[in-house]
């Protein structure tokens, strides 16, 4: 007890430390060492107990309760300090304008039904559902349903609020102060040119792919061995669906529209080829020149070359042209020979 002052006692951790102890000579046997340590430990624990039991205590059913002082030995935190939440846009606005939060009653007097009703939520005061008649006004447009307009307006307000909420949450996420149970996740594809968000393949999609693979045999997977735990293929049967070709009002018209669409697309792609002005002009001039040369009486090697080239260039000999860089006439001959065989 007389050496108590030499110990460093931290009651917050129930810790005692004797920084001065030194073994004069290491005990020879293990038992002696253990005994010495336990004896010394008892002294230290006694020192903690002295300061602990002298703290003011409150009597409880289970025994005396003691309020521990904060520990003096600092230990590192487990996680960072929680970050403060940034104010929302409304909070900023309210602060700038000096708007204070008022306490409102949960229930209100409803004059339509003459009783108390909730301010918000189901069966609330001034509920749109409760209004049977809306008086017409001079400014009303004819042919517009005032009820559906009210509904649409309400939906717009709700959507706007949701948008604002998301924006505020984004700001909080940026500050790193998002509540632990909220996660923000990207839903739609990003704008083209930016990096695409990696999409996680769902269980369903994997199942579909596995089913497709299983049926991709000549027998449609009929004679394949089933693995243990393999589920029956999900998508079996018809995959293609054809619209009715009979002319009608609904589905019937769809088929025609579909084919029209395809046709118009093709036509619009090749529309510039219907009359290529440059081509027409050049053709015309070539013809004219040919005629002139013929009249002059010269053999027409270049013209024949032109003729030979104009045909294969369009369709068949395009790949040939790439591989063989020899004389064009020869290459075309080769192609012709191969075909004849």
């Amino acid at each position: 007890m007389e050496t108590e002052n030499q110990y460093e006692v931290d009651i917050g951790h129930l810790l005692a430390f004797d920084p001065h102890h030194q073994f004069p000579s290491l005990p020879s046997s293990r038992e002696e060492l253990v005994e010495e340590c336990v004896r010394k430990g008892t002294e230290l624990v006694q020192a903690i107990a002295v300061s602990l039991f002298n703290l003011p205590s409150t009597e409880d059913v289970d025994g005396p309760l003691v309020k521990l002082p904060p520990p003096t030995t600092k230990l590192p935190r487990e996680k960072h300090l929680p970050k403060p939440k940034p104010p929302t846009k409304w909070e900023l606005f309210a602060k700038a304008k000096g708007i204070k939060k008022r306490k409102k009653d949960k229930v209100m007097w409803d004059e339509q039904t003459n009783n108390w009703k909730r301010r918000y939520g189901y069966d609330r005061v001034n509920d749109d559902e409760d209004i049977p008649i809306i008086e017409a006004k001079m400014t009303d447009e004819p042919g517009e349903d005032p009820f559906s307009r009210r509904k649409a307006e309400k939906k717009k307000r709700v959507d706007k609020q949701e948008k604002n909420r998301l924006q505020n949450l984004k700001q909080t996420a940026k500050a790193g102060a998002l509540p632990s149970h909220i996660q923000l996740a990207a839903t739609a594809l990003p704008i083209t040119g930016t990096q695409a968000a990696p999409k996680k393949v769902t269980k369903d999609e994997l199942g579909n792919v596995a089913g497709l693979a299983a049926t991709a045999t000549a027998s449609g997977g009929k004679f394949d061995k089933k693995l243990a735990g393999e589920k029956p293929v999900k998508k079996q049967g018809k995959h293609r669906k054809f619209l009715p070709v009979v002319e009608g009002s609904g589905m019937g018209r769809q088929e025609k529209e579909q084919t029209d669409k395809v046709l118009s697309k093709i036509i619009s792609q090749n529309s510039h080829e219907i009359l290529n002005l440059d081509k027409a002009v050049s053709k015309y001039t070539v013809k004219k020149e040919k005629n002139r040369k013929n009249q002059l009486g010269k053999p027409s090697t270049p013209s024949s070359k032109l003729k030979a080239n104009s045909k294969p260039m369009k369709v068949k000999n395009k790949p040939n042209k790439k591989f063989v860089k020899g004389p064009k006439a020869g290459s075309s001959k080769k192609g012709g020979k191969a075909k004849s065989k």
């Binding site: 951790h13 010394k40 039991f53 590192p76 935190r77 996660q183 990207a186």
Partner: protein
């Protein structure tokens, strides 16, 4: 576009809230795991350690082949486990020819390695080898006393570091109020030489001494072992500074049903549940309360009950 994802069940929300960073932390969970090779000694060290910290520890029993805490790249799966289990202290056991019976004790900050201490275990005596009166056996989760003995803990860098880590590992739950009757265990760590620490676990017996302070008696209950300091890695200064930050003001507890009034001062509201006097059961029904038989008879009449059969005399 963004969408908000929130847990669908309350239990998950509560669990997530528990894992969120707190102003005042309540203690660290311990993850106990091992590498590809362990010895029987190490197995029992880890098992005993898990037993001591049973209330807030998680034991992984599978082999882990890609954990090398001191090497770069070898800590990634540790950090993942820390994230997954929400543990911020780990005890990793492995044995090799170079480092037999090796234990790495490390701490994490924000699920990243904060510091590491490597020790070798020698002269291990498991809990099962100790015999003592089972009455004094410590209870699970009780707050321990911790005693550090020896100047080595102050003069030698490695032991100084080991002391801090051991304190963090052994201290148990951080509490404000402590029940003095529940104190039943102590850890004694002695710096035997400049690289060797003797660690033992004792039960406490509180004996009457005539004063307020009882006389303390330690009974060794095990495990006990020698820890030989090997490698260690201190946190870098900036990280240490950040991790040591504490909240300036403690979070105020919301006081309900108490309001301040300028005239009356402090005003409290008391809610009394509706006393159902009508349906209250009386302790015993006295004669006056009981329904009398005669009355019931008058009420029901004798109509529905058949008259008693009279014995007919046959003549």
């Amino acid at each position: 576009m963004l969408s908000v994802k929130t847990p669908k069940k309350g239990r998950i929300k509560r669990e997530l809230d528990k894992r969120a960073p707190k102003l005042v932390e309540t203690g660290k969970k311990t993850l106990i795991l091992q590498g590809t090779k362990t010895s029987s000694v190490l197995n029992s060290v880890l098992a005993d350690l898990y037993h001591l910290k049973r209330d807030n520890a998680i034991r992984y029993t599978r082999k882990n082949d890609n954990i090398r805490p001191f090497e770069s790249g070898g800590e990634s799966s540790l950090e993942f486990f820390s994230q997954k289990t929400d543990c911020s202290i780990f005890v990793y056991g492995s044995t090799s020819k170079k480092r037999p019976n090796n234990i790495v004790i490390g701490r994490t900050y924000d699920h990243h390695i904060y510091d590491l201490v490597e020790v070798g275990v020698e002269n291990f005596k498991p809990m099962s080898s100790f015999t003592y009166d089972k009455k004094v056996a410590p209870h699970i989760g009780s707050k321990p006393f911790i005693a550090f003995i020896g100047e080595g803990f102050e003069s030698v860098d490695e032991l100084k570091h080991l002391k801090e880590v051991l304190l963090d590992l052994l201290r148990g739950e951080v509490v404000e109020n402590l029940n003095l009757i529940g104190l039943d265990r102590a850890y004694v760590c002695t710096a035997v030489s400049s690289n060797r620490v003797f660690l033992t676990h004792c039960a406490i017996r509180l004996k009457k001494s005539g004063t307020v302070v009882p006389r303390v008696e330690l009974v060794e209950v095990g495990p006990s072992m020698d820890l030989v300091a090997r490698r260690h890695r201190l946190p870098n200064e900036s990280l240490r500074k950040e991790a040591m930050k504490t909240a300036k003001d403690r979070p105020k507890k919301k006081i309900k049903n108490v309001s301040a009034d300028a005239v009356q001062g402090k005003v409290g509201k008391i809610y009394i549940p509706d006393q159902k006097i009508g349906d209250m059961a009386l302790p015993d029904k006295s004669k006056g309360v009981k329904r009398e038989r005669r009355e019931a008879k008058m009420k029901n009449g004798d109509k529905d009950r058949a008259p008693k059969k009279q014995k007919e005399d046959s003549e």
